[in-house]
Amino acid sequence: MNALYLVAIGNVPEKTWEWIENAAAEWYPLPVRRLPGLAIPEGAYDAKRKQYQSVELMKMLAQQAPHDAGRILGVTEVDLAIPMLSFLFGQAQLDGPVAVVSLCRLHQEFYGLPAQENLLRERTVKEVLHEMGHTFGLVHCAEPTCAMSLATHIEFVDAKAEQYCSRCGLQLVQRFTAVDGGV
């Protein structure tokens, strides 16, 4: 059976994996496996913007994915962007295997506030559910508490629940119960 592979890009604290594995086990009927960490690809760094091009990370993930990877999720601490946008919390291929989540702007410290581990855990889980949802074909949801709602600001992330709304959830279930497993 195809698996969901998790991989660190650069250094990622160990506890992060526990959060993600728990959430993945709750929502997706795929075995979750860890891959050895990858270095941040050269050429991804944009010196002028002091950020990393998300597309470069995704390209690398696509290349590194094992043949049985139904999905591959990269997690990184670096700040991601695309040429058009000043930052991204994460990015995914819509209905494709690759997703990436940046923890950088999920830390309270990024906003000059004291660290809050539980808040970081919640935000991480929400962002993982969001990007993984895209890989399973879900688009943005109008319900602000749904993990699939579009967050362009950290407050929007905090307004979400650590779950999909019933409609998006149902869409996922339908996909997983389809004949081909939808994965």
């Binding site: 597309v55 695309i82 600001h153």
Partner: protein
């Protein structure tokens, strides 16, 4: 829903195109990408893009502004958003001047893009709703509330279709309430001006000075209270049709002004010294006999001939009595549903009353009469008694058969009836008979009528 609003991203940098497309796809949009202007225009030919993000600087071939102009040539409605890495006021102004909807500097905040896209699409939705409503309106006026099986009216309707796309001036004559405005609308909405404005001006409703500024607009300071420049109806109707109702009532000065507009399609705003040029079709209407007004010297002959290029004379309702049942049924259905009354129809006896009546106010009067009957009606069908008040008011012609008597006898009876109706008042009776009081006295003497 979002799939109905496809988006195109044009940039020579593949990363820029693909990452932007991916981001928008996550939001549910269907997105295409093009690496240069040429490919973008090619795509735009086959796909109706709602929004095109176009990079300003693309090496070789077309730059962003040229690309935008080409896209607009094939997709007039597409909103183009120009993207650039560095903003200068000059490029922004140029982009907006050439028709860009927005101008954004990359990288921009994701929130900015989301808001921009949803704002533009909100506008698009309103525009498309507007277009649908316009279409509905057009359908409504295609054959258009004009309900008839009268051959003459059918001929007129056919004529409205034939002349719909011409620019020729039309003069519609007919008693009030015969549907002159409806015919004017039918002409406008059947032709190639249907998408353009149809502006109605009732010439009789306004004084000369008011009408002048209403028609031609005025400049700021043209008179006390003219705080800003205001466009007149002629300018508002540009590209479309202006309907001048009650044209027979305008003053000699306005007749002269109007003649100039008809001849030259140009005019001055009140208090203005700059000519305004318009492309407007004129449809005029009157309940007067303009030829007679010309003879009497009340209406300019040259203006009359300018207006009377295509003449439509609408028959009075009493000249098309066969339409009365159709119209009555139509009004019952429409008005009952508007007023929320459950009325199933009109009884045969009631219809007879309606057919017999003379309708000096024509179709408009019929409509008002039906409305009044619906309001006062006690049961589900309009009966004879719902129109009894109409019978009292109606003229002597109804149900009138010429008795087999001499003309003198006929006159004698007419005089007696008139006197009875006016309770012996000779002044009123003579007026209703259309003769002098002295003539009536002579006739009373002659027929030995005692009153």
């Amino acid at each position: 829903m979002k799939k109905n609003w496809p988006i195109l991203v044009v940039d020579d940098e593949d990363v820029m195109c693909e990452s932007m497309a991916a981001w928008l796809r996550e939001d549910g949009y269907s997105v295409d990408t093009a690496p240069d202007g040429k490919k973008a225009v090619e795509l735009a030919k086959s796909s109706d893009y709602a929004i095109c993000f176009v990079d300003l600087k693309m090496p070789g071939g077309m730059d962003g502004i040229e690309t935008m102009m080409e896209i607009h040539r094939v997709r007039r409605e597409a909103s183009v958003i120009i993207i650039t890495a560095y903003a200068t006021v000059d490029t922004a102004i140029q982009a907006m001047k050439e028709g860009a909807q927005e101008y954004i500097v990359k990288p921009c905040n994701p929130q900015e893009i989301s808001m921009l896209v949803s704002r533009i699409l909100k506008l698009k939705k309103l525009q498309s709703e507007n277009a649908i409503l316009r279409k509905k309106l057009t359908r409504q006026y295609r054959h258009h509330d004009i309900i008839t099986k009268n051959p003459r009216m059918e001929e007129i309707l056919a004529l409205t279709q034939d002349i719909a796309s011409l620019r020729s001036t039309v003069l519609i004559r007919g008693e009030s309430g015969t549907g002159k405005e409806l015919v004017a609308r039918a002409v406008h909405f059947s032709g190639n001006r249907a998408e353009k404005p149809f502006i109605v001006v009732s010439c009789a409703a306004l004084t000369e000075t008011l009408l002048e500024s209403e028609l031609f607009g005025y400049e700021k300071g043209a008179f006390t209270g003219a705080a800003a420049q205001v466009k007149g109806k002629f300018e508002l109707a540009d590209g479309g049709t202006i309907f001048l109702d009650e044209i027979g009532d305008i003053s000699p000065k306005l007749q002269a002004d109007l003649l100039r507009v008809l001849q030259e399609r140009r005019f001055y705003r009140v208090g203005g010294n700059q000519e305004v040029e318009v492309e407007v079709r004129i449809i005029a209407a009157t309940n007067k006999n303009l030829a007679e007004e010309v003879q009497q010297g009340r209406f300019r002959e040259d203006l009359y001939y300018r207006l009377n290029v295509i003449e439509i004379r609408l028959p009075a309702l009493r000249e098309r009595r066969e339409d009365i049942p159709l119209l009555a049924e139509h009004f019952v259905q429409r008005i009952a549903s508007e007023l929320g009354r459950e009325i199933s129809g009109i009884s045969a006896a009631a219809l007879k009353v309606l057919i017999a009546y003379d309708w000096p106010g024509n179709v408009r009067e019929l409509e008002n009469v039906i409305e009044r009957a619906i309001v006062t009606c006690r049961n589900g069908t309009l009966e004879e008694q719902d129109f009894s008040w109409l019978r009292q008011n109606s003229g002597p012609q109804q149900d009138w058969e010429v008795p087999d008597v001499s003309l003198d006898e006929l006159e004698r009876r007419a005089i007696i009836t008139a006197l009875e109706r006016k309770h012996g008042n000779v002044k009123e009776a003579s007026a209703s008979l259309g003769i002098d009081r002295s003539t009536l006295y002579d006739k009373l003497k002659r027929y030995e009528i005692v009153h």
